[in-house]
Symmetry: C2
Subunit: 395 residues, 2 copies
């Protein structure tokens, strides 16, 4: 364990904190770029309440609407242009993970003269790692990505069909205004996907890390157990504010850095999913739900111990030994059963996706990131054939 950690984001959390958006924004200037998605925030009245809070604090705004799921680099360019032309002091993201991710990159692009795509990891490099950005304030309307309080973003280049990421300290939001009331209207399927998303955020570092971080293991298990307990309640009754609150908090915590700090983990399931959703525009977490159990079975066969720990601590199974593959696989089965129980897909066929592009996804994945030997960093590292076999197992 040798690492550096700093997460400076100020978190305002709790039912009703949306009313404090203006107060938070007022510390960063007088004019905001207000970024939103497809319009649900306007239909639900959240937009009006946000604007009211901004107005009361003397903060004006210009809009950047229509950020799509799997946000595109063209939307980033459009948002940054508005921010520059209008002289915005800050960027406020009012929406889900796509809106927040786009907003972070817009905030950096507004202060960068080059092509914003330079900032996104592709061709195994960052052409430009952003070192400055307009202040960003996030207001998540969905419990899922944890983007509200971390420095990462995932953007799709629709011309090249590359979906990839950027992580840079300059992208930490200044403030995350996290109000679980805003998630009460989230539909059942998106609620379930959010639960899957947050679990997958911790399973990646848990299974692909250095293996020398026992406290982080406990934290990851704590996040998963909390999601297993409260996720089904939020799915069963969207108006259960207590369940919404616990899932919102778990989603933030899953990727705020407290769980994966120092693990040196890889994110193979995310990397593979990104290439799939670059082609199919599926919800990110639906792809994760399909790929993760298949990947887990592949990885458990190579090195069962961590999956045995998962089976015992998360699902209460009893292993015969520390390397009991049967127990490991039973735990994975129970995890997949849980995903299905809340309505997440676990096979590509459920989304109408066939095997035609499996090799393309795999090749695209290592084109974004590989270990120098043509393999995707993971535990164990994955060849193109390994990835194809995982995709096939999830067909």
């Amino acid at each position: 364990m040798n690492f550096e950690f700093q997460n400076p984001t100020r978190i305002l959390f709790g039912a009703g904190v949306l009313a404090r958006l203006g107060e938070a924004a007022g510390e960063y200037g007088k004019k905001a770029l207000l970024v939103t998605g497809g319009g649900s925030v306007k239909r639900g009245g959240v937009f009006d309440r946000a604007v009211e809070s901004l107005k009361a604090a003397g903060v004006s705004y210009v809009e950047c609407t229509g950020i799509e799921p799997n946000p595109r680099i063209s939307s980033v360019v459009r948002g940054a242009d508005i921010a520059r032309k209008e002289g915005c002091d800050m960027v406020i993201a009012l929406g889900g993970g796509s809106v927040m991710d786009a907003s972070k990159v817009i905030a950096a692009a507004a202060l960068y003269d080059g092509d914003p795509w330079d900032m996104i990891m592709h061709g195994q490099e960052h052409v430009h790692v952003p070192t400055q950005a307009l202040p960003v304030i996030t207001v998540p309307t969905l419990a899922a990505t944890g983007s509200e309080a971390n420095c990462g973003a995932v953007i799709t280049n629709e011309k090249t069909t590359v979906k990839s990421f950027v992580m840079a300290p300059a992208l930490y939001p200044k403030v995350a205004v996290v109000d679980p009331e805003l998630t009460v209207s989230v539909p059942v399927d998106q609620t379930a996907y959010g639960v899957c998303d947050l679990i997958t955020h911790v399973t990646e570092a848990y299974f692909n890390g250095s293996g020398t971080t026992p406290l982080q293991d406990r934290f990851a298990e704590g996040v998963i157990l909390t999601a297993l307990e409260w996720g089904p309640k939020a799915v069963a009754d969207g108006n259960d504010l207590e369940a919404r609150t616990q899932i919102q908090w778990a989603a933030l915590v899953a990727l705020v850095g407290w769980v994966n700090v120092g693990t040196n983990g890889a994110y193979p399931v995310h990397m593979m999913e990104h290439t799939v959703s670059a082609y199919h525009d599926i919800t990110h977490a639906a792809g994760l739900s399909i790929i993760n159990p298949a990947w887990m079975r592949f990885a458990a066969k190579a090195e069962p111990a961590k999956f045995v720990q998962f089976a015992e601590r998360v699902f209460g199974l009893k292993a015969r030994s520390a390397d009991d593959l049967d127990c490991a696989l039973q735990g994975i089965d129970l995890f997949e059963t849980f995903l299905r129980s809340i309505g997440c897909p676990t096979r590509f066929s459920e989304l109408g996706i066939g095997d035609e592009l499996f090799e393309t996804y795999a090749k695209d994945t290592v084109a974004i990131m590989n270990d120098g030997n043509g393999r995707l960093p993971a535990r164990p590292p994955m060849s193109i054939d390994d990835m194809v076999s995982v995709f096939k197992a999830a067909l």
Copy 2:
């Protein structure tokens, strides 16, 4: 759950990171007040290595030595005077919890014209909450208090025999340089006390919180389970760097805010212990080790459920019901047995402390903090008689 959270401290963690002290300090100026305790850092060579790193970065220093265990306000005044006279740009704490706590208050006192004691909670108020401080860099040489990465400090007024605290965002260290190698030379008893200290930091919010923070419960249990696993290894073999590393990280995490955030927890065991160690100058965690099990039995009888959860999740017991007091008390017995197994005292008599001042401690405790009805905030709130009965049970 309705709360605000921000911890801006930059954490450099890992064996060998002491060599980066100069690099970290160089960002905050050219001259440091270097605060140390009784001299062990000089005997062990840590001081020389720290100074070497500072010199290489062009940072000079003046010393403030001799910060005592249970640091005194007179030492704070002395340190602040040196910092002002010498025009120090920053304060570097090289030592354990006492040195770090004193350094934070020195850093604030150097920029405050009034009496530094104004900043410490007493007589049920803060005369002055610090809003500014010189930059602080912490270099813990002991895994215990977590003071390296939070905004709290505990100071004793030796004239009035009051030991109390300050918590203020201005006191967050800028950087925590956390090098587990520095703790390899910590003696067995102090190692054990550190383990007890970090556990008690999470049990307080766990047992005295709002009860609506299931993820924080999981995190608290994770910290305790990690301490139960690795603490005995660090006690058994001080040179076990892996065990030292895990305990150092657990100690930081226990009080960095990630575990108790949003719990709205009270800290009755700490409050009671402070008044005891104000009179007897015992190691803080030795006092905690004595008072905590006795307090737990008192609180479990009033409301067993959380103690049942503790018994089941931490010690693997099986309760007959959610309010099974027998199970709750068995869990507390096992916890006390653990403390004894690593060499911590669990009775006042082991430290030569009798019952003469029990009522004085209790009255002093509510003089520092009470709920407006003469009771110490806790779950349940504690009258003077309640506190005396807990002290007696620990005699």
